[in-house]
């Protein structure tokens, strides 16, 4: 197997041709603001995780996920994985809550 441990991390793209920069202004959706607020609580008030853990989790995303997910989608993926890793939430609690939210959303329509 050809393993190259000197390889650049997928996220570590300084110096590469990144193409056009989208300079359009945009607003944040409520869910994005909530994720930002959750991260502030987790890192500052509750001290359950660090911003470095957030980054580590984002950098661990598979390259196609890293490329295609939006900014706060990457955040919540990393926060979720960290909370599972740290034992703050269980996979079962996460699944139960997500089904409840899904059911609520389909009721609203």
């Amino acid at each position: 197997m050809d393993r190259n441990f000197t390889a650049r991390g997928n996220h570590d793209m300084g110096g590469l041709d990144g193409g056009e920069i989208n300079r359009d202004e945009h607003d944040y959706a409520l869910w994005e603001k909530r994720i930002d607020a959750m991260m502030m609580l987790l890192t500052n008030k509750l001290q359950i995780m660090t911003v470095d853990q957030l980054r580590k989790g984002i950098e661990a995303l598979p390259p196609d996920a890293y490329e295609n997910m939006t900014y706060y989608e990457r955040w919540i993926a990393s926060v979720t994985n960290t909370l599972l890793d740290e034992g703050v939430i269980t996979a079962d609690e996460l699944a139960t809550k997500m089904s409840a939210i899904e059911a609520e959303a389909s009721e609203v329509g």
Binding site: A7, D12, G14, T50, Q53, R55, E59, A60
Partner: protein
Amino acid sequence: MARYSVGDKVKVRAAFPPTPPTHVRTPHYIRGCVGTIERICGEFGNPEELAFGRRYGPKSMLYRVRFRQADVWSGYDGAAEDHIEIEIYEFWLEPAERENAA
């Protein structure tokens, strides 16, 4: 205590830890390059340990290091005085020979 002083020549370690699972803040493109200490920023928690939730480990000295763009990018065709400055932790730096040492 800071190991390096302003003006010292330093070489960024050519270490390439596989990321992930590690978290490294030293950009890939600068590893192995020689630069000059521009300022001492102070001591901060080590992000490579903080990335695993270890908040209370020893702090590390952080420096702002100045590199000539021509030393960083092969075939750089900008102005000779162009520089880039990057904040790098002490454990990523090793002493470098002075350029044009007498």
